[in-house]
């Protein structure tokens, strides 16, 4: 069993770890480099909890053999924030109540970051497609979709955080009132 050294540019920093042939990128990140943001949900590429950006594209890191990505650039949720200022996606998730248990959140956010990087102005359908590989069992999809649309608006600088475009859904703080007539006092 040959152990190889894998070099990565991880969140902008040069890192290296040792990998066996069966070591996945997920386990390399978590167990060798101590980066716990990406989660192991199914270890079979079905839930998206382990989503990271590999050379800018979202991948399920539980299915990526670490030795195949030597020399690549990898982005994880830990790299999105300097600890002071959150990314637009993170802030929109926070403001829009788009987290519940939090286990799918890092993967969701990385899928959203990848989407907005390639498509700054996605439609609701494009957001749904982009996170279709990310399972949220608390079933908070609606606030998540709203938050990603809100983040897109923030990144474009076109809309203030609290007033996203009305035709793309309700404002984030009232995401669960999306059905007309469900509000008690209107």
């Amino acid at each position: 069993m040959t152990v190889k050294i894998v070099n990565l540019k991880l969140n902008g920093v040069d890192k290296a770890f040792m990998a066996r042939p069966e070591t996945t990128l997920l386990l390399g990140l978590r167990e060798q480099l101590g980066m716990m943001g990406a989660k192991r949900g199914c270890a079979q590429g079905a839930c998206g909890s382990c989503t990271v950006l590999l050379d800018g594209s979202p991948v399920v890191s539980c299915l990526v053999p670490a030795v195949t990505v030597d020399g690549s650039t990898v982005g994880t949720v830990e790299g999105l924030s300097d600890g002071q200022v959150l990314s637009d996606v993170q802030q929109a998730f926070l403001d829009g109540f788009a987290t519940q248990c939090g286990f799918c959140t890092p993967g969701m956010i990385m899928s959203a970051e990848a989407l907005l990087e390639r498509n700054p102005d996605p439609t609701t359908e494009e957001v749904q497609e982009a996170i279709s590989g990310n399972v949220c069992r608390c079933t908070g999809y609606e606030p998540i979709i709203t938050a990603i649309l809100d983040a897109a608006a923030r990144r474009r600088g076109t809309t203030a955080a609290t007033t996203p475009e009305t035709d793309e859904g309700p404002p984030p703080t009232t995401a669960y009132e999306s059905s007309e007539g469900m509000r008690a006092d209107v």
Partner: protein
């Protein structure tokens, strides 16, 4: 922040002392910042260089006698450290509900001479790597003699069904009775006086919680023989107490660190992974991880129980229900877990939020050779509600009565005697229906709008 859903102060004004400044007002979750930055620490978010792994060899039969267990090939797998059988579990028979006095202890941590469901754990294998543990578990050889299986709740209760439980009955015994019972009034008399009698059957399938984070724990030996348990249990103290009882060790030997759960929904209330991980950690003196694979989470973690419910109602022409008889069967699967309690909850919920003068219910907690069921979001109540409210809709349809009016006519009110011989108080079904009807633009006749929970019903 602005209110997003104002509290309606019109109702029960004299019963309220609080200003309710929080309810209806958005507030930031205290854990959300950790969630969006990846800093929230789940049980698995820690690495140990000498971490060992536990994997399980499981039953391939619904019901079988175990004739022999051979672990010799498993022990030959490079990296395998130990095998654990029931001989290594100090108090192998347990029941999580024992903490509230429920008996008998009907489940073994590891199977002894019998298996009662596909996936029942028989041998645990501890290894240096997850791969070695999986390989080791696959090499355990168990020879079985298959026994007839019972897979249906009503079949399990028939006199000629094979008895699958060592305690002698295929049902949980409630204070000497075959079911949790309700006896109130005389249902047969009620059916006799009724203009109509309706009986329908309702059934539900098991539902798996499928949390994105599978059930698991990491146990780390501490100085002084203590064990630190990093767990994603929803019930830290339940886990601590039950684990200590299974290990036959003082509670003070264990520390459970938890509280961060990657989706639970009731599926992480059983005490399943911690006892074996503690035994493995003790035997190897190494940190040990025991976490379900996705397949195990789907196959062997307890689902919501399947239920079958028969409701027979005697109804007057004007929609008043004068008798309700319920035969309710909850599929506990092979072992009790939380289902005797869930079945009691179902009984406590009958006959629904309605005042019915004659009620008879038998709520059975039935053992079958299926995956043990347990807690899930309102277990016991949820499926009973589905049945009760479906029944109300069907009666309304059969009698051509507005379904809301049928419910209002039968709604319980303050002062009514419930079937459990408790006097109803703080009831609000009438007001909730009236308000819901207004919100959806469903017109109710004036006499229904005039009803009130605090006004006694006319005789």
């Amino acid at each position: 922040m602005a209110k997003i859903n104002e509290i309606d102060t019109e109702f029960f004004a004299d019963e309220r002392s609080s200003s309710f400044t929080v309810i209806g007002t958005p507030a930031q979750r205290s854990d959300a910042l950790g969630h969006v930055t990846g800093k929230t620490e789940f049980f698995e978010d820690r690495a140990f260089p000498d971490l060992a792994h536990v994997k399980i060899h499981r039953s391939v039969h619904h019901h079988a006698r175990i004739d022999s267990v051979d672990c010799s090939e498993a022990l030959k797998v490079p990296g395998v450290l130990r095998v654990i059988t029931h001989h290594d579990v100090p108090a192998n028979w347990y029941l999580v509900l024992r903490l509230i006095g429920v008996e008998p202890h009907d489940e073994p941590v590891l199977a002894e001479d019998r298996v009662l469901y596909v996936g029942e754990p028989i041998v645990a294998v501890v290894a240096d790597t997850e791969a070695a543990a999986i390989e080791g578990a696959s090499r355990v050889k168990v020879s079985y003699t298959e026994l007839p299986a019972v897979l249906d709740v009503e079949e399990a209760l028939s006199p000629d069904a094979p008895v699958i439980k060592k305690d002698g009955t295929n049902y949980f015994v409630y204070e000497g009775h075959h079911a949790r019972r309700i006896r109130f009034g005389d249902v047969e008399e009620g059916f006799a006086q009724a203009d109509h009698v309706f009986e329908w059957r309702y059934s539900s399938a098991p539902i798996e919680h499928a949390p994105t984070e599978t059930t698991g724990c990491i146990v780390v030996p501490q100085s002084g023989n203590r064990l630190l348990i990093h767990s994603n249990t929803q019930a830290a103290f339940f886990t601590l107490d039950n684990t200590a009882l299974i290990l036959d060790r003082p509670f003070t030997d264990l520390q459970v660190k938890g509280g961060t759960v990657g989706g639970g929904f009731g599926g992480k209330v059983d005490v399943i992974v911690e006892p074996l991980a503690c035994i493995a950690a003790t035997l190897t003196n190494r940190p040990v991880k025991f976490v379900y694979s996705r397949e195990e989470e789907m196959q062997v973690s307890s689902p919501r129980a399947a239920e079958r419910i028969y409701i027979k109602d005697g109804v007057m022409a004007d929609g008043r229900i004068v008798a309700r008889k319920v035969m309710l069967y909850v599929d506990s699967g092979a072992y009790s877990r939380h289902t005797p309690y869930g079945t009691t909850k179902a009984a406590a919920h009958l006959p629904g939020p309605y005042t019915i003068p004659n009620v008879h219910a038998d709520c059975h907690c039935v053992y079958t050779n299926r995956t043990p069921s347990s807690a899930m979001r309102g277990f016991g109540v949820t499926i009973a509600d589905f049945a009760i409210e479906s029944q109300m809709d069907r009666i309304a349809r059969a009698l051509d009565i507005d379904p809301l009016e049928l419910r209002l006519r039968n709604a319980y009110r303050d002062g009514d005697m419930k079937a459990h011989r408790k006097v109803a108080s703080g009831t609000a079904l009438i007001e909730v229906i009236q308000r819901a009807a207004a919100l959806v633009g469903h017109d109710l006749p004036p006499e229904y709008l005039a009803m009130s929970s605090s006004t006694p019903r006319e005789a």
